[in-house]
């Protein structure tokens, strides 16, 4: 039998021995993102190592940089919670001055991007720095103990949005940073999910190969924060796509009239109900006693798709 070539590069930039939980979703994101980045750099500049990483505080920064060890095999700088975008801009400007070829990867969690680092991100995109900003979205501040962020979806339990007699958990809709980034009219904005790893890989490669800023928001389930068993991480991310709760799209140059969708059903009818996605996760357990909250979540998902220009039907 002929030897088959893997669809992703065998170069490694994310070493084992880091302190992430078993079944960590964001750890898969880190591995695939750096591999895709190196492949894009090799195609563009002929050097697979022509990139550096600026990493905001967050789960992946903490587990990969347990002093005195590091899990990274690429130049990596840990910066404060709010300024991954600003530091990545600075590194990029310095590289430009030095005449060094390559691209900078800025990484932040949903807290470090949607809440605390939004200003630095906006500045970075607006100044058109040659940086890819990767937001791994695990939908709460998981590192500090599961506090809500503005990216937490409606109805989710977190320690600061506990459900009870007068509360259904998080009571506000999810903020879509990808749409905020696209409003800066940057060359490339995409959402992805580790439920479709090769789609994420392709998008990361595309983001790394465009000239100018790019933004990728990727869904990365968190085992302790979502109250899921460790082996279900990817299954949950897959269900998020199949039930329509997580859209996969690409927006180029802020053109909201020509959004490209991936894995969108042709007739706009999703086959699997959102309940399938919710049932696997302990953070949505309380919703099954409150059907009106699930209905409200469905209305919000429909509204999100309507904003993206699609009429959908949810079973």
């Amino acid at each position: 039998m002929a030897v088959r070539k893997p669809p992703i590069t065998t170069r490694e930039y994310w070493a084992p021995g880091h302190a992430a939980c078993a079944g960590c979703g964001p750890a898969i994101v880190m591995k695939l993102a750096t591999k895709a980045f190196s492949e894009a750099m090799e195609e563009k500049y002929g050097d697979p190592n022509a990139f550096a990483i600026a990493h905001a505080t967050g789960c992946m920064e903490v587990v990969s940089g347990v002093f005195p060890y590091t899990a990274w095999k690429a130049p990596w700088i840990h910066v404060a919670f709010e300024n991954a975008g600003a530091v990545a801009s600075g590194v990029e400007a310095a590289w430009k001055k030095l005449g060094r070829k390559g691209k900078i990867l800025a990484i932040g969690g949903d807290g470090g991007t949607a809440d605390i680092g939004l200003q630095a991100l906006s500045g970075m995109l607006e100044r058109r720095h040659n940086v890819v900003y990767l937001m791994y979205d695990n939908e709460a501040y998981m590192n500090t103990g599961i506090q809500r962020s503005s990216s937490t979806p409606y109805g989710a339990w977190t320690t600061t949005s506990p459900p009870g007699k007068y509360s259904i958990g998080e009571d506000k809709p999810k903020k879509w940073v990808a749409l905020i980034a696209a409003a800066h009219q940057v060359p490339y904005v995409a959402t992805a999910s580790i439920g479709d790893p090769y789609d994420f890989y392709r998008k990361m490669k595309k983001a790394a190969s465009v000239d100018g800023p790019a933004f990728v928001q990727v869904l990365a389930p968190c085992v302790p924060g979502w109250r899921i068993p460790p082996e279900k991480t990817v299954e949950v991310a897959k269900l998020a796509i199949e039930t329509g709760i997580w859209p996969l799209f690409e927006i180029e140059n802020g053109d909201f009239h020509n959004i490209k969708f991936q894995r969108f059903p042709k007739d706009g009818k999703f086959k699997k109900p959102i309940e399938d996605y919710l049932r696997l996760q302990g953070r949505f357990k309380h919703l099954f006693k409150r059907p009106e909250a699930i209905q409200e979540l469905k209305n919000q998902v429909k509204e999100m798709w309507r904003i993206l220009g699609k009429e959908v039907e949810l079973p």
């Binding site: 088959r4 065998t10 490694e12 070493a15 084992p16 898969i28 590091t70």
Partner: protein, 105 residues
């Protein structure tokens, strides 16, 4: 049997790492976390059935450690020094070539 892609890193960190504090507490050895053998966290252990494998690379793509690398024929090899036993590989395997069994020591 193929070699782990991290073999050189393990050797380097064993040879060069010292307890002495570096200026600015900079970590000079890339990928030095390989000294932490996280395999001790494991309760369930993936067991691989080579006959059933169709080499779709799903386990190789999705291992968060990464504790799976490829041999010369592109079959997955499991690195039990680092595998935390999460079971994503067994759950996502389309032919159920990977089975999680309780480990006894």
């Amino acid at each position: 049997m193929a070699e782990s892609p991290f073999k050189a890193d393990i050797e380097r960190v064993q040879k060069e790492y010292s307890e002495k504090m570096t200026p600015g507490a900079i970590v000079y050895i890339p990928g030095s976390s390989v000294v932490n053998k996280t395999g001790g966290w494991r309760v369930f252990m993936p067991q691989f059935n080579r006959e059933k494998c169709i080499r779709c690379f799903m386990c190789y793509t999705l291992c968060p450690e990464p504790a799976i690398y490829l041999d010369e024929e592109s079959y997955p090899v499991f690195d039990y020094d680092y595998c935390k036993g999460c079971g994503i590989c067994a759950n996502e395997c389309p032919t159920k070539a990977i089975e999680m069994v309780r480990e006894s020591k």
